[in-house]
């Protein structure tokens, strides 16, 4: 059970059961769909940007506990972050769930995201954790494109 406990940590189960920011933002600056055709996980992420800063982030959709908790935790962390900070966290999260961050202190330093460290022991589930982050990255970049064409 120990690896399972490491995967299904309290933080993850809690965010799965009571996802934060689980709503649509009607006047969002952009919304992007993320879909995993293999397993059917499907989320839409909504962003409101105040210049370079993510002023509001929310999501709707359905999927497994890992993907839903990942979207929920991500939404709590990214509010108030700049676009660049969000992209840096995206990279860090990738390294974490792929098991590329070995040092416990480095993992602990990631706060709530550290709860996803156990995912690396379950290669089939890495893409579940990453899906919301990819969707967010697309949303942020879409905004960037919109901005650059203005």
């Amino acid at each position: 059970m120990s690896e399972l406990k490491a995967l299904y940590q309290e933080v993850i189960l809690d965010h799965n059961k009571n996802p934060r920011n689980f709503k649509r933002i009607e006047d969002a600056d952009c919304s992007v769909d993320g879909y995993n055709p293999l397993c059917g996980d499907h989320y839409t992420i909504f962003l409101k940007m105040n210049d370079e800063i993510i002023s509001e982030i929310a999501f709707v959709g359905s999927g497994c506990a890992i993907s839903k908790a990942s979207a929920s935790v991500m939404s709590t962390i990214l509010k108030g972050k700049t676009r660049t900070e969000a992209e840096q966290l995206f990279e860090k999260f990738h390294h974490l769930v792929r098991g590329e961050i070995k040092n416990d202190a480095d993992i602990d330093q990631m706060g709530k995201l550290a709860a996803f460290a156990g995912v690396s022991e379950f290669p089939a589930r890495v893409k579940c954790a990453i899906l919301p982050w990819h969707t967010m990255k697309n949303a942020v970049e879409k905004k960037k494109e919109t901005v650059s064409t203005e």
Binding site: L4, L7, C39, G40
Partner: protein, 420 residues
């Protein structure tokens, strides 16, 4: 093991399952430190040593290319390959081995019929009829040919139990319908369709029928002539044979009328730059060097299946399925999807507040292999308003003890999720 059977002398007690299990080497393995409980047979079944040995022996002592050389090994390989064709023909009671085409699997068989028969017969406005229970492999090839030919794909709906609405199916068989393609057993729900009756209804209107038997052949004996199927397809790897080979059965008159699927060696009688004369069936439909060891392995699988008592197997599998449905449906917060009167080999279920992927991961750590997801049948999932299910699928080598391991595993899933 604390299994109490309702009545003594039940087939669940008397069926020689332990003896059969010894024929399948992989069933003795351990996964994550636990004995393997393999309940993903609808995805692919395991192989008896008889099949594994036949493939190994083929490469050790019998291999060369087929239908080519005059030398000993080429003749031997050809003999083994053609013997396999005869075994398949007898296995499904085809009228002749000429009606047995080796393909890569059920998927390729359907693509072959869509791309040849479909290409030949469909005109703008014509219709192809399928059902709401189909696997993607019996949807997409028809969609593709319908699009190419400006034809229309019609879908007979299913009811809340996961059964095809027969009146609707009959109503959708019209003067415009050029072919109907129906699954024999649903891979997602386990529904056994009344294909004989459906074929008869189609034939009343002179409409040929393709039956996707991928999930039927592993569970009961199929007689294509009794069904009067025009085309019948299945995959070797689901009937305890190798992957990468499958069967298209077609009535010879239809196969002869169809254009070739692929061009190449073996499918020709003579080639000049001006004109090619195609070979006779079945070779016309088998371009290139075939999957010889696959055919040999499938032949061995059929030989193995023929050595078993199928009357007993069908009774055992039905009893095992009923036992599993009873035990699994007794779990709180669990719902079985698909409650057709006639079912074979499959229990699809969902759990309150727990996604099928999480069920699959936790069961895996208990050594239990099930499939989770949409099972390549997204329209079925949509019909029931769910994104995915967890699916336990059985073969004759599964046991009541494994059913109970699954039940304990599901309870563990609930424990993990009741943590908060």
């Amino acid at each position: 093991m604390n299994i109490t059977m309702s009545k003594t002398g039940s087939i669940l007690d008397t069926f020689p399952v332990e003896k059969i299990r010894r024929d399948f080497p992989i069933l003795g393995s351990r996964v994550h430190g636990k004995p393997l409980v393999y309940l993903d047979n609808a995805a692919s079944s395991q192989k008896p040593a008889f099949v594994i040995d036949a493939v190994q022996y083929y490469y050790t002592a019998q291999h060369s290319n087929v239908h080519r050389g005059v030398h000993y090994l080429s003749e031997l390989a050809t003999k083994k390959y053609e013997e396999a064709r005869v075994k398949v023909g007898e296995f499904i009671n085809a009228g002749s081995e000429r009606e047995i085409i080796f393909v890569r699997g059920a998927t390729e068989a359907i693509n072959l019929v869509a791309a040849t028969y479909g290409r030949m017969e469909l005109n703008p406005g014509d219709e192809v009829l399928i059902t709401g229970l189909e696997h993607h492999s019996n949807i997409v090839p028809w969609q593709m040919i319908c699009e190419a030919k400006s034809a229309v794909l019609r879908v007979a709906p299913i009811n809340d139990n996961g059964e095809i609405v027969q009146d609707e199916f009959n109503r959708l068989l019209t003067g415009k319908t050029k072919i109907a393609a129906i699954g024999h057993v649903s891979n997602a729900l386990g529904t056994v369709n009344p294909v004989k009756q459906m074929i008869a209804a189609a034939h009343m209107k002179n409409i040929p029928v393709l039956v996707d038997g991928a999930q039927a052949v592993p569970h009961f004996r199929v007689d294509v002539r009794d069904l009067d199927a025009d085309f019948y397809v299945f995959s070797s790897h689901k009937v305890f044979g190798p992957t990468g080979i499958g069967i298209l059965y077609g009535k010879s008159r239809l196969l002869e009328s169809m254009p070739p699927y692929q061009g190449g060696g073996d499918m020709i009688k003579s080639v000049t730059f001006e004109k090619t004369i195609f070979n006779d069936i079945p070779y016309k439909c088998e371009a290139g060097t075939p999957h010889i060891e696959g055919a040999v392995g499938l032949g061995a699988a059929i030989e193995y299946l023929n050595s078993l008592d199928w009357h007993n197997i069908q009774e055992y599998e039905q009893a095992l399925l009923e036992f599993a449905e009873k035990e699994i449906s007794a779990i709180d917060g669990l719902k079985i999807i698909g409650n057709a009167k006639e079912k074979a080999g499959v229990i699809s279920f969902v759990m309150d507040g727990i996604h099928p992927h999480d069920i699959g991961t936790i069961l895996d750590r208990e050594g239990i292999a099930i499939r989770t997801g949409h099972h390549c049948a997204q329209p079925v999932m949509e019909r029931f308003g769910i994104p995915a299910t967890a699916r336990a699928s059985f073969a004759f080598y599964n046991t009541p003890g494994e059913v109970m391991a699954l039940v304990r595993g599901i309870k563990k899933v609930k424990e993990v999720f009741e943590y908060v």
